[in-house]
Amino acid sequence: MRAHLILKDGTIFRGRAPLGFGGGGEAVFTTAMVGYQEILTDPSFAGQMVCMTFPEQGIYGIHADLNESGRPWATGLLCRRLSFVPDHTRSEGDLAGWLKRHRIPVLSELDTRALTQYLRDQGSQPSLIWTEADGSLEAGVAQAKALPDMTGQALCAEVSCRDRYELNPGGAFRVAVLDGGIKQSILRQLVAAGLHLEVFPWDTPATELAHKRFHGLFLSNGPGDPAALPGMQAEVGACIGQLPIFGICLGHQLLGQAFGGRTFKLKFGHRGANQPVHDLMTGRIEITAQNHGFAVDEASLPAEIEVTHRHLSDGTIEGLRHTKLPIFSLQHHPEASPGPHDAHPAFQRFVELMKKHN
């Protein structure tokens, strides 16, 4: 079925809706060439329609062990071409069918490069997949213009676990994990690091998170605008100084705010599996997986916070460290999935930190 992508600013891209229905969300692009399933199931993409810049999607189908969470959280897939015949000896079905089952709309045959360049120049923005069946383009444009912005949106409640649960009991260290929409691969890495995890919902108070039975606290990734989560921020703040803390992505941003810093929305964010990060402690480059639309504003940080990692392309903060307390955080995703494993050692770094401070 013919369909259009309508951006909030009224810009229109042509395409087709192979699943026959439309939808909406913030249009963002990722340059990762593989890993559509991990991306679509990454809770950090909640509320966003993902434009895959690589034109061939769905080639190897769907695999149970590639899910980053129980379901796809992205609200749409924007792509150039969708394969309906999965090719993999171990795939359990095709991408299109899987998306249909989860009612995730697809806009394919789209000029994803033109869209990417437009978002790059004009910034990510709310948008609609508008099919012929949805009515006149005019009506679509009117609707698109009324869409809410991502700034100010708190989405953790949607994606976080409802109740506390444990993983890998008997692990060397006992770690509280604050789940703002955590990826399975992060949990896998923490477990692989030999940690006993207790995973808590996003709105858990500091008193529980910093309980004395814990050797450390881990702050997960998550969707939406970190500035819209004052509650979480306060609780994280209350934990500072009580135990070693490691934060990734949203966790990193929450720490930044808890330290007294501000976050701001990047024009089109960093999303991909080829993002070069300069590790200022070793002087070396890590090729990292990234997925964030907001970043910590360096100028707003107090003196005792040291920048340990920078994005090589735009110099934005990729890692922070507290000079006095056992706290560090990364904006990129050391667990990768999808992406290179260069930053894996970060999890070991967390373990070492707990060794030193327990």
Binding site: F13, R14, P55, R81, D111, Q122, F268, N274, P276, S313
Partner: protein, 1117 residues
């Protein structure tokens, strides 16, 4: 830490002549390396024997040595130049091996020169399969079960371990020469024997077979801080068992999940670190078993490789340039990303398109060759295509091959005997892709084809979709083609002319239909970052994005009955500039008869155009070349060289259909409301004379479409190309030509032959590289030829020429500006006419040819150029007999010899021609006849070693893959060097075996006396011996192969003969001779097949015995 400051001068080793397994990709990498070095103010010295390369143009290095790539020469160059370091990693296996020789012989230590890029230990670990295997075990990475054998005994033991089929691969050979797959004991023993013989270390690797596994390659770079990144991942469509160089490959890897890919990436990083390649690029190959995801490491090349060139063009990331900077001590994060300019080289390129590479084979040249593809590389060139889907890229690539395929259904439509489908799918050959297509078309299932070919099903499914589309297209006449279907077809890579066939219309009608429906190609940038950053470099490819559709044009449209303004974003980027500009058409894939030398001409032309303040736009589809480097031209369109693709670029650059660029949102200015002024304009025209026959073929259609040809006009091209018309021109200008005639049937041919009388030279009209040419001596031969040739020439008439026996052949290149003609170079062939100009050694100045003749030939050339109205380059070939110079042919374009002549005379003749095309007269340019600055001999190399069983005899059909240059003060020195560079080290003593035909017996004594004077012993066959004895020479008589034992071949085998001189005796003795020549080839005993060359060789031997000197071409004349 920034770059090393201790390096003031660096020697770059080139890869020598183009040969199978080592083509012009190393011209690309060497050229980039030189650029990278000079930018740092480092004095650059280049050693490369290949004159057809761009890198050996005088301006590219401070001191350029066009000399043989041997240890002896290297030593002299080191002594003369005293460089601080040698960069051995951009000249392929040849450079790497030479560097290792220099290391092991102690030359490096003695001269205090170090290697940069890769250290000897690392090179050893990477190249020596034994060390490498051990290393992989330490890393816990899997390699194939198997081991090394140094003799048949060890081999047999290993066979017990591997079983059949078993893979046999000699160590340290190029492109896997001598390797193979053995299915039975007999094959096993033959391949092992051959492998042991070919391996410089007399060592073969014998491995279990993992035929049918998926094969992958990763291009990896590393810097001194141990930062490692993967530049490009490549998936082979053809599974394990077919050499990557002979496989259709795709970038990036398509059919792996992220965990599978990351495991491979982790392994690659472990490998490059363990091998210890300090800096620069490496190529690592893997195999993956689909069922289990088991990964096996196949090999690593610790240097820039063929795949690196492909990876560079596929991603836009200049691997060789970066590798060189890293070798100087830069860190990846210190280097700019040359395409975005704003980001750094420390990142991993991402693509937003699919790249397909298809190898180009030339089996038609070697009928007796084994055409089955295996572990040894056999292709001579390759094409690359970019598209926004695999289907599009695949069909574009197929078209780029210039083998007559309009797309996948291809030229073989209806020509394949589907009864033999299975066999052609199981036993891979050059045409397998088309068998797959027609198999699917015939209704065979993807599953079945997968079972037979082991090609990953997804690729087969995609191809099946193309089959289905073809079916749907066939059900419409052109003027009824529905927009959705036509759009889908174009996006799947169907060409207009192909659709025309399906819908029984013309290409023009299909194009018109497209226009009517608002379907236009879009042009996208290759930017290394999938659009994440603005790119500055116009490296472009064409594709098909969702049609604007009739209803929209330009930035905004008012929705019907509404005040609502909405904006559509258009899809093309990098709109044409409004500078004056000229398009240069490239030469497409390398093949025998059209290789790197034409790319060299294109690049010289492009540089001249840029220097004249005109924007140079290049179109080409060959990823191995310098011309397809994004910074060679002002604008690069990586597109097939077919009418549709070229015309589309012309239209775009001329500004036609400019409305298609409205609301350009690209880097040139962000999204904007309202129509923008039509882009483009000022297109001066198109150059069709630098890329060989490829662009020349397009000249007609382009001219017909009203496109201006720069330089030589179409009429002149036709006058020269069309034999009928050319014959008349020659008559009118009374320039002698061999008597000739045309025939379309055997009976016609008989009559013509009677008129000309035998021997006659026969060939189909309109062919390059002497394709399907032959000399026939009698009616029987003629009949046989007509039967076969008429097939090749698909019913175009066959040409018959009076064959001028024993004539002296001359090659002349001229430039004409309409008023004046300058002679660029006049070459005398060493072999007599009858051996293709591309295959014969030639010398400039034309030594040994009477002044009078030379003047006559120059005069003829001037007359012809002016009369035809040539504007730019023209090449002529003459055969001189009995004081008469007969014109054999005219090529109204840059010829194969132009780069060689440029080096010999120090003038960039293609550049001169380009300036003429832009309206600058020769007088204005101040160019005069080229003056040879020394004696230069062009030598040639043949691929016979790659085709065991092929008779290495030469004839009018071109067979060589590459050329070398020998520069000297005397002819002897130059010729000796050219032979040395071509890998034919003449013996300085020993026994010469002579067997020559009657015609040659006249000159035989002269040769024999020379040989004896040089101290050689003589042995000869009956007839030849009698002649020698008759002039009182001592000679040992030996049997012909079929006369008894010990015969000639026995002597060769026993090492009793060091040199063979055998001029063909004609059909009778054919078997006998070819077995001698084949044996000589196998044993690497020099074998000259004609007397002139042999006489010349005697002079060479004298110089070889003395001291040889080397000179930089910059120091000549």
């Amino acid at each position: 830490m920034p770059k090393r400051t201790d390096l003031k001068s660096v020697l770059v080793l080139g890869s020598g002549p183009i040969q199978i397994g080592q083509a012009c990709e190393f011209d690309y990498s060497g050229t980039q390396a030189l650029k990278a070095l000079r930018e740092e103010g480092i004095r650059t010295i280049l050693l490369n024997s290949n004159p057809a390369s761009i890198m050996t143009d005088p301006g590219r290095a401070d001191a350029t040595y066009i000399e043989p790539l041997t240890l002896g020469v290297l030593e002299k160059v080191l002594e003369a130049e005293r460089p601080d370091a040698i960069l051995p990693t951009v000249g392929g296996q040849t450079a790497l091996n030479l560097a290792m020789e220099a290391h092991e012989s102690g030359l490096l230590q003695r001269t205090g020169v170090t290697l940069i890029g890769a250290q000897p230990e690392a090179i050893k670990r990477g190249e020596d399969r034994q060390l490498f295997k051990a290393l992989m075990d330490d890393l816990g990475l899997e390699t194939c079960r198997g081991g090394f054998a140094h003799n048949m005994g060890e081999a047999r033991d290993l066979l017990k371990l591997t079983g059949f089929p078993s893979i046999i691969r000699p160590s340290f050979t190029l492109g896997g020469s001598g390797g193979g797959i053995a299915y039975n004991v007999e094959e096993f023993e033959t391949i092992v024997a051959r492998g042991l013989d070919l391996s410089p270390t007399k060592q073969v690797l014998i491995e279990e077979s993992i035929l049918g596994w998926k094969e992958f390659e990763l291009e990896v770079v590393r810097d001194l801080d141990d930062n490692v990144e993967v530049i490009c991942s490549i998936e082979n469509l053809d599974p394990m068992g077919i050499h990557t160089g002979d496989s259709i490959t795709v970038a990036p890897i398509l059919t792996l999940t992220d965990p599978e890919y990351q495991r491979m990436r982790d392994a690659a990083m472990a490998v490059i670190r363990a091998v210890g390649v300090e800096t620069g690029g490496s190529n690592i190959q893997f195999a993956l078993e689909p069922e289990t995801s088991r990964i096996i490491v196949i090999e690593m090349n610790p240097r820039v490789s063929r795949s690196s060139a492909l990876a560079s063009k596929a991603t836009g990331f200049p691997i060789a340039w970066v590798a060189t900077k890293l070798a100087l001590g830069y860190r990846l994060w210190e280097l700019p990303n040359a395409i975005t300019r704003m980001t750094k080289a420390a990142f991993e390129p991402v693509l937003d398109y699919v790249v397909v590479k298809i190898p180009r084979f030339t089996f038609e040249k070697f009928p007796q060759a084994d055409k089955v593809l295996g572990t040894q590389m056999k292709s001579v060139g390759e094409v690359m295509a970019l598209g926004r889907s695999f289907q599009e890229a695949l069909q574009k690539a197929v078209r780029s091959l210039e083998e007559g395929h309009k797309g996948l259904s291809g030229a073989l439509e209806g020509k394949l005997d589907l009864g033999r489908l299975k066999e052609h799918l199981i036993i891979p050959g050059a045409q397998r892709l088309f068998w797959v297509y027609h198999g699917l078309k015939a209704g065979h299932s993807v599953e079945e084809l997968h079972r037979l070919t082991k090609i990953t099903p997804w690729f087969l499914h995609e191809i099946e979709e193309i089959v289905v589309l073809e079916g749907r297209l066939r059900s419409f006449p052109v003027d009824r083609l529905p927009v959705d279907l036509l759009e889908k077809a174009k996006r799947a890579g169907f060409a207009d002319d192909q659709i025309a066939v399906f819908c029984s219309g013309t290409e023009a009608e299909v194009a018109a239909r497209r226009d009517a429906l608002g379907l236009h190609p879009a042009y996208k940038r290759v930017d290394t970052c999938a659009g994440e950053f603005k790119a500055e470099t116009p490296y472009l490819y064409g594709t098909w994005e969702t049609a604007a559709g009739a209803e929209v044009h330009g930035a905004s449209l008012r929705l019907k009955g509404s005040a609502q303004e909405v904006r559509y974003v258009e899809t093309s980027e990098a709109p044409p500039t409004d500078r004056p500009k000229a398009i240069v058409l490239g030469s497409g894939p390398n093949r025998i008869g059209q290789g790197v030398e034409f790319d060299c001409c294109c690049v010289q032309a492009v540089e001249a155009i840029r220097a004249s303040g005109v924007e140079a736009i290049l179109i080409n589809c060959n990823p191995e070349t310098v011309s397809t480097d994004f910074d060679t031209s002002d604008r690069l369109y990586f597109e097939p060289l077919t009418y549709e693709h070229v015309k589309a670029v012309v239209d775009r650059e001329a500004g036609a259909g400019a409305e298609a660029y409205h609301a350009e949102h690209g880097p040139e200015g962000g999204a904007q409301e309202g129509p923008r002024k039509a882009a483009g304009g000022h297109l001066l025209g198109v150059f069709a004379q630098f890329g060989g026959q490829t662009p020349l073929k397009l000249a007609g259609p382009l001219h017909a479409a009203g496109v201006k040809l720069l330089g030589t006009p179409l009429s002149a091209i036709l006058d020269a190309e069309d034999r009928e018309r050319f014959g008349q021109v020659l008559k009118r200008l009374d320039i002698p030509a061999p008597q000739w005639g045309m025939a379309t049937s055997f009976t016609e041919a008989l009559e013509v032959a009677k008129r000309l009388d035998y021997p006659v030279m026969v060939r189909p009209s309109f062919v390059l590289g002497g394709r399907a040419m032959a000399v026939v001596f009698d009616d029987a031969g003629l009949e046989k030829y007509m039967r076969e040739a008429v097939a090749v020439s698909n019913d175009q008439p066959v040409l018959l020429d009076r064959f001028l026996e024993g004539a002296q052949e001359l090659d002349i290149d001229v430039v004409c500006d309409g008023e004046q003609v300058v002679i660029a170079g006049l070459l005398a062939h060493i072999e007599e006419a009858g051996i293709h100009s591309g295959d014969s050694y030639a010398v400039i100045p034309a030594l040994g040819v009477p002044e009078g003749i030379l003047e006559m030939v120059k005069e003829y050339a001037r007359r012809l150029a002016l009369d035809l109205g040539v504007l730019g380059l023209m090449n002529l070939q003459f055969a001189v007999k009995d004081g008469i110079a007969y014109c054999l042919e005219a090529n109204p374009r840059a010829s194969r010899t132009v780069p060689f002549v440029s080096k010999a005379t120090g003038v960039d003749w293609a550049g001169v021609a380009a300036r003429v095309g832009l309206g600058q007269s020769l007088r204005q340019q101040g160019v005069t006849d080229g003056v040879p600055r020394a004696v230069s001999v062009k030598g040639v190399v043949f691929p016979f070693a790659k085709f065991p069983g092929v008779d290495p005899v030469l004839g009018p059909e071109m067979k060589s893959t590459g050329e070398v240059m020998g520069i000297g003060e005397t002819f002897g020195e130059a010729y000796a060097k050219s032979l040395l560079a071509a890998g034919i080290p003449l013996p300085l003593s020993g026994t010469v075996f002579l067997t020559v035909n009657d015609a040659d017996k006249v000159r035989l004594p002269e040769l024999a006396h020379k040989l004896v004077a040089l101290g050689f012993g003589l042995c000869a066959t009956e007839g030849t011996a009698r002649t020698l004895e008759s002039v009182g020479l001592k000679v040992r008589k030996i049997f012909k192969v079929n006369e008894g034992r010990p015969n000639a071949v026995d002597l060769l085998k026993n090492g009793e003969v060091q040199w063979v001189i055998n001029t063909p005796l004609g059909r009778a003795a054919f078997f006998d001779e070819s077995s001698i020549r084949k044996e000589a080839l196998r044993l690497k005993i020099p074998c000259l097949t004609n007397l002139s060359a042999a006489l010349a060789a005697c002079e060479a031997v004298e110089t070889l015995r003395g001291e040889m000197t080397v000179r930089a071409i910059q120091s000549l004349g």
